[in-house]
């Protein structure tokens, strides 16, 4: 059957089972939006306030559901506005297909109106990208884009489509998408035997569970291995929820804002087992003094991660879920050891703590949120102190429960992401834990949440400063607070009401529960809670830049 390029795009989305897309129209995508209009009963288009919001929403949707997120923008500024969202997804291995309009083929390269070389711009932040100049290639490229985005180590793929291609006709025949190839185990039995033997002979093993464990759906295998061999488990920020935060073997985050227990354990371990993690600088800090007495085992799907940031003695490249299953079958069950007791002792001596001095504390807010939601909410975050408090004081028990820009550290990510997450998981409570600085960056997406009647909660930990940068200025720059005081006249409660959301102000700890209860009761309106906290509350522990991770400041 002959279809226009625009119709082919829509048909290809249907082939992939896409029922929700996020976007913002414009000249170069008029034909695509026309086709979307005709398909409006099958594909729901979420119109955001800004293309960046659409990209973060597609990302949040993907992280919350595991399905590939789709966003659409026009050429030129529409496309460039997606870039931060694409880069965010790239750094955190999130499957996404970004569709951009492009000027007609005859106008390419002539600095035409709203022309930008978006494939050139996004080359370093996509798994792959395409510019489509021939309608006959469109369907094949769309299918390949979805396959690449979701297979192996997932990531964003951009498809840039010239406007004349969306109007031209080509023969189209529906093709059922091939199952995403389940990557084979990838390692030989001898390597698995060796890995198990190394684990069996280790006296002080530690597991680092990263975001890859969640992506691989290997949470239960992870749990089985840790429990069978009684191995303490720490996680990266991306790995939160890949191992239950309530489990007795869980030691908390590791690295720059790791717990004393995790960081001490890593510094004393004789076998460091990193699973689906990439040894980011936020984890290892000083590479020369990271896990100094340990052999390192690294299990990951991406061979390029092996040996990139640290020397690895036991690399296992392949499907994490299968590898963990096989290793688990080979390791010896172990009783609680001296090592486990030592870990317990550290945990008792060095819990995450904060002073309750009668003022409203961010830690307390997050902790109450955890308790009031019975640990069952999806939490998105902005970036900075809010992100770390959300990571430390909410206990995540399931993969895909904590949604945060880990690699790129994108301020302004959380609101879009929570919109996407709520649309992907309509039955869940979705809460964006925000800072006032990050929230203000992309707060226009409140209009989107109101329009689509999303009962998301935005909990602003409002300290009227750019808190994380201020914290660094206080600790490492002798208190020279350069450009971090943002005590603007903005009234966030009034702002929420102006957008059509509910606004609540909280200034005292006694008001926290009532505010959350009211917010949690909302079923069709977003609720913004403006928590006024002190500007000098800090995130502890913190490892000073360049120091080994066991030299942390506990506050």
């Amino acid at each position: 059957m002959k279809l226009t390029g625009a119709e082919i795009v829509i048909e290809c989305l249907k082939e992939q089972g896409v029922d929700t897309v996020f976007g913002f129209p414009g000249g170069a995508v008029l034909n695509i939006y026309d086709a979307l209009y005709k398909a409006r009963n099958e594909i729901r288009h979420i119109l955001t306030s800004h293309e960046q919001g659409a990209s973060h929403a597609a990302d949040g949707y993907a992280r919350a559901t595991g399905r590939t997120g789709v966003c659409i923008a026009t050429s030129g500024p529409g496309a460039t506005n997606l870039v931060t969202g694409i880069a965010t997804a790239y750094m955190d291995s999130v499957p996404m297909v970004a569709i951009t309009g492009q000027v007609s083929t005859a106008l390419l390269g002539k600095d035409s109106f709203q022309e930008v070389d978006i494939t050139g711009i996004t080359m370093p932040v996509t798994k792959h990208n395409y510019i489509v100049k021939d309608v006959n290639k469109l369907a094949g490229i769309m299918r390949e884009a979805f396959r690449i985005a979701a297979s192996g180590r997932p990531g964003p793929v951009l498809v840039d489509i010239c406007k004349d291609v969306t109007a031209a006709y080509a023969e189209y025949e529906r093709v059922e998408p091939a199952e995403i190839e389940y990557p084979p185990i990838g390692v030989k039995p001898a390597e698995l035997d060796e890995a198990a033997a190394v684990i069996n002979s280790s006296l002080k093993p530690v597991i680092l569970s990263g975001g890859g464990v969640s992506i691989a759906g290997a949470g239960s295998e992870m749990l089985m291995l840790a429990e069978k061999a009684k191995i303490p488990v720490t996680t990266t920020l991306m790995g939160l929820g890949s191992f239950p935060g309530t489990h007795e073997l869980f030691t908390g985050l590791v690295g720059m804002h790791g717990t004393k227990t995790s960081n001490m354990a890593v510094s004393e371990t004789d076998l460091f087992i990193a699973i689906g993690a990439r040894f980011s600088d936020r984890v290892i800090s000083n590479v020369k003094r990271f896990a100094p007495s340990a052999k390192i085992m690294h299990i990951d799907i991406d061979p390029a991660e092996i040996g990139k940031n640290i020397t690895v003695q036991y690399p296992l490249v392949g499907n994490i879920k299968e590898i963990l299953k096989e290793i688990c079958a080979r390791v010896r069950p172990r009783e609680t050891s001296e090592w486990n007791r030592k870990i317990e002792e550290w945990k008792e001596l060095h819990p995450l703590k904060y002073d309750m001095d009668g003022s409203l504390k961010p830690h307390y807010i997050v902790q109450r949120l955890y308790e009031l939601t019975r640990g069952d909410a999806l939490i998105t975050t902005e970036v900075g102190q809010n992100q770390l408090w959300a990571a430390q004081f909410y206990k995540y028990t399931k993969p895909r429960q904590f949604i945060s820009s880990g690699g790129l550290g994108t301020m302004g990510y959380g609101l879009g992401a929570c919109i996407g997450a709520q649309l992907g998981q309509p039955d869940k409570k979705v809460i964006n834990i925000a800072g006032d600085g990050s929230f203000r960056m992309n707060c226009t997406e409140l209009a989107t949440a109101v329009e689509y009647k999303l009962p998301v909660i935005i909990a602003i930990l409002n300290n009227r400063v750019l808190g994380m940068v201020r914290q660094w200025q206080k600790l490492f720059y002798d208190g020279r607070f350069s450009a971090t005081t943002i005590d603007r006249a903005t009234d966030f409660v009034a702002l929420a009401e102006a957008f059509g959301a509910i606004g609540i102000r909280v200034t005292r700890p006694e008001e926290v529960d009532a505010a959350f209860e009211r917010a949690l009761a909302s079923t069709d309106r977003p609720v913004l809670i403006d928590f006024e906290i002190d500007r000098d509350d800090k995130v502890f522990p913190i490892v000073p830049p360049g120091a080994p991770i066991d030299e942390l400041i506990e506050g």
């Binding site: 494939t119 050139g120 080359m123 370093p124 798994k127 792959h128 510019i131 690449i148 991406d302 061979p303 390029a304 092996i306 040996g307 990139k308």
Partner: protein, 174 residues
């Protein structure tokens, strides 16, 4: 730091070269030379990339290249098991007094004079990078006005071939 030669089969698409070059620049790898041309299969191009770096760098380069969707196969060529060639065009100052001496040198190096003017000679030289460098060194005394080099290309000795379909030891498949 030593030099390593990688043979890379890539899809013959527009934009592949910039993907490869972009990867090198953003990851901080140094390209000594890069030569690219289409192979016996018109859908496939072959790049010969000479990289300067230690074992860690070469391994990272290979692994990162391999993540590019358009890269089909990478093989690191052993210096002793492969033939490398580079073509140079060298324009050198020449007058009646020096011309014959230059011609003699060119013969010794089995290079060719490809253009003559009253004040210059243009020499075509091919061979391993070392040989071309030696000739260049000898020509300096006459005054080199211009040099153009193609960058190294390389092929394995004997009956071994790098193809999209076959699979030999030491190859990384994309």
């Amino acid at each position: 730091m030593s030099k390593h030669t990688l043979s890379v089969l890539v899809e013959n698409h527009a934009g592949v070269l910039s993907r490869v070059a972009g990867l090198f620049s953003r990851r901080g790898f140094n390209i000594d030379s890069l030569a690219v041309g289409v192979t016996e299969n018109p859908d496939v191009s072959r790049m010969t990339i000479v990289v300067e770096g230690d074992e860690y760098i070469v391994e990272q380069v290979s692994k990162q290249l391999n993540k590019l969707v358009d890269v089909i196969k990478i093989k690191r060529l052993d210096k002793h098991e492969s033939i490398t060639r580079e073509l140079s065009l060298i324009k050198v100052s020449a007058n009646a007094a020096t011309r014959s001496e230059i011609v003699q040198l060119v013969e010794i190096f089995r290079a060719k004079i490809v253009d003559v003017s009253k004040t210059t000679l243009t020499i075509e030289a091919s061979g391993s990078g070392d040989k071309v460098a030696a000739l260049e060194d000898m020509l300096k005394q006459f005054g080199i006005k211009e040099i153009v080099r193609t960058g190294t290309i390389a092929i394995e000795r004997g009956n071994r071939i790098i193809k999209v379909t076959n699979n030999e030891e030491g190859e990384i498949n994309g």
